[in-house]
Symmetry: C2
Subunit: 208 residues, 2 copies
DNA sequence: GTCGCGATTTGAACATCGTTCACTGATCCC
DNA sequence: GGGATCAGTGAACGATGTTCAAATCGCGAC
């Protein structure tokens, strides 16, 4: 029953990740069963373990591909000239993306590896790549000697946007629909950046 | 083998939630096994199901108690006079809390009920209670006719703080330790609120 | 053309999971 | 004292992730 591989080993890997993504998008983490996945790939459960160490590794691969897709979307966007518009554009891409793949997106954020297991480096690298993209767009707003401040602002904005998307996808922000999450994001970016600009003028004697 | 209840039925409920919290804090969601929980409570697995519909309900009760503890901590805090300080105080309580119970906190955010199941109302109510506390502290910053803006700002700040805590606890913010998450939070609150104040002066002709 | 090596896939088997339910026996009411 | 009641039980069920000895066939050697 076993050809010498009817499709290159990498192709099999791809088919498994494809099938896993479809299952995750449709039924969430609980739906991703070794047997269900194997059936969709038309192989036996054991075969999965010839290609991946365990199901978590399959999930990690789905997540990685999702992050790549987001990165690509950001890279494809026509770059906006003004930092404010550039950051806003990124934030909205992020928001749209999280609502386009809500199930997969939640899994990306929620999926915690068992006890000792740490997130693999190649996974963390993709996250900080995104962070770097925000940072790059913010640098023009800061003086040459203020890279530290730019890095800080990038992290604050990224985390803030992420928080809004996260709560919005999970439907945990009272009275905030997917529609109005966009309003929240605009407000966060615009108000926060306005706050940065307002910091430059000389301090008034009144404030500490 | 079964007395007519050796401890009131509510007491049993409490003991189960206690034990569940201990297990969750120590071993995470994966560690919470019906059998492990039963052993800790010194009863049989079946008994758990006389008191709770399933393990998810137990987890929800742990989460609820956690939210209550956070609410109490916020309520106990000596109220700060200036809105800025009050909001900052809340945000730092939130941050400290999430790092004091990192495992439980992650579970609270990550724990997704199976497919159709929606978060129970009593659970959502506790979340929006917290949101209301932020809102109450922000109201003084806005003119009487601007309650909508205050509500918006409350949601943005809450989501932003939540995002920082969430990424920080999950260790997903590159180069951001638990220590420096406090810096991010301060920056978010201060800069965002400065941005709100900066909005009040009449618009300059230059800006769209 | 055929043969056999070895890479590849298989699926039965294992331990463990959440959950159920027929049963037990201590307790209360009469 | 003697049912009736019901909290508590734990064996049993189906499904889970994972393993591994065995089965299978592609392919190079002759």
């Amino acid at each position: 029953m076993a050809r010498r591989s009817k499709h290159g080993p990498d192709a099999l890997k791809g088919m498994i990740v494809d099938a896993a993504e479809a299952i995750l998008a449709a039924d969430g983490l609980d739906g991703l069963t070794a047997r269900a996945l194997a059936e969709r790939v038309a192989c036996s459960p054991g075969t999965l373990y010839n290609v991946f160490a365990n199901l978590d590794e399959v999930v990690l691969n789905v997540e990685a591909r999702l992050l790549d897709r987001l990165s690509a979307r950001i890279a494809d966007a026509r770059p906006e000239a003004r930092p404010r518009d550039a950051v806003l554009q990124m934030a909205e891409i992020y928001l749209d993306f999280s609502h386009e793949f809500p199930r997969l997106w939640s899994i990306l954020l929620e999926h915690a590896l068992p006890a000792g297991q740490a997130t693999p480096d190649w996974h963390r690298a993709r996250l900080s790549e995104l962070l770097g993209a925000v940072e790059a767009r913010l640098v023009p707003m800061f003086a040459p000697g203020q890279q530290t401040e730019a890095a800080l602002a990038a992290r604050v904005l990224w985390a803030g946007v992420h928080g809004i998307c996260s709560l919005s996808v999970a439907d945990k922000l009272t009275n905030v629909t997917a529609q109005s999450a966009r309003v929240l994001i605009r407000d966060l970016v615009e108000t926060y950046l306005r706050g940065i600009e307002a910091r430059r003028p000389p301090l008034l004697p009144g404030s500490a």
